[in-house]
Amino acid sequence: MGRPEGLKLIDENGKRVDGRKKYELRKIDMEVGILKNADGSAYVEWGKNKILAAVYGPREIHPKHLQRPDMAVLRVRYNMAPFSVEERKKPGPDRRSVEISKVIRGALEPALLLEMFPRTVIDVFIEVLQADAGTRVAGITAASLALADAGIPMRDLVAACAAGKIDGEIVLDLNKDEDNYGEADVPVAIMPLKNDITLLQMDGYLTRDELLEAVKLAIKGAKAVYQKQREALKEKYLQIAQEVAGNE
């Protein structure tokens, strides 16, 4: 996109367009278990991103021939609401959302003990209600919480974050302007317990060293996100515990 004249993504004080420092995350809020129908759900506000994730399953799979005899099938659908972006998005999947659904599935799959639920399906639905760069990492983060909320056995949570390059510098967690006018975006998802990288993409133009610097920075960001995930789950369980206690 043509960059507006005079737009500086990092000012003389090292501050970014939204006032953040180079390695600073946007404000992130997470809430677990907010939908009635879904078996598990989570809502994540990440900067201006607003993402809702829900999990259904393990449940019967239709059509039957998609069934796997040795494990559950994981299906992921990443979808943007028509009003989630500046220019209204036509409803339904486009090529971008098909690809993102696929890489998110690949990012979540290694965390799940799918072999425990043969012949079933676990459906993960990610609805982007508002988008502002980084929806896939926010979506993975929300989906991972929703899976935990649904009680799906997991090896670890999956936490995600992006790093990128703007005005020649590697920074954490690009917002929309930085993504549009920056040089590269590197979304990463990890399972923090063993430092396993389950999502890695790069869209941009970087040297080898810049790329690796960005990957490492994104991993750090993801670890911070992981702490927030754990807190959100704790809060949820605490709340439940209190409710249970209150009912007794």
């Binding site: 939908l35 809702l52 829900a54 979808n79 609401a81 028509p82 009003f83 989630s84 508002q130």
Partner: protein, 274 residues
Amino acid sequence: MSDAPVMAGIMRDRILNLLKKGKRIDGRGFEDYRDVEIKTNVIEKAEGSAWVRLGETRVLVGIKVDVGEPFPDLPDRGVMTTNVELVPLASPTFEPGPPDENAIELARIVDRGIRESQAVELEKLVIVPGKLVRVIFIDVHVLDHDGNLIDATGLGAMAALLTARIPKLEYNGETGELVRLDEYEPLPVRHVPLPVTFAKIGGNMVVDPSLDEERVMESRITVTFDETGHVSAVQKGEGGSFKLEEVMYAVDTAMRKSSELREMLLSSVDRGLP
């Protein structure tokens, strides 16, 4: 899963037995709505938006405003379209894919209620007659389906329309250029039509059916009133049938209930009647 029909049968009996005693399964009276919560301007990137909770039903409505051509037979009117996405996140019975008959019916009932009362002054949304008008997209994203999506969507659409702010435009007739100003104005909204939906269960009429009630209802009827006492849409839905007296009851009750809902809505968007 194989327990589902049995469970449904038990639920059905319970609901019917309670109704005979004049009670609803969740303790409401026959003419009581569930708890309603409305938040507006929840999506900053949309020109208008509203999140509505009706019991455990949750819908999100976003308004986007664009510029386009009018319909050839309505050159002096802006364009308004309503679209509903029953995304599979909201219910185990929703499937991915283009809107099915339920989504289309829902969108069209709500759309008709707004359109026929001329709630949005489309004639004020013309830039160049016959050539260039504002196009309003009312997009409904259902987030959790616990029954009565029609009324929740109707409330959400009106809440979003009432609070939408659209950028002013400056049209240069000579160059044909259209400049989007950095000033905003409200959408011209003149009426506040609201649908009120009834389920008929075991011969009883109850307002604002929950999902449990919808599952066992024989039939459904929706009546949309605006604040002038005019009806702008009626829709009998699903199978089953109504007696004329039941229709009359539904119409009269809807007039009353839409009035209560309207008061609540206007107070939550902090606005009086248009």
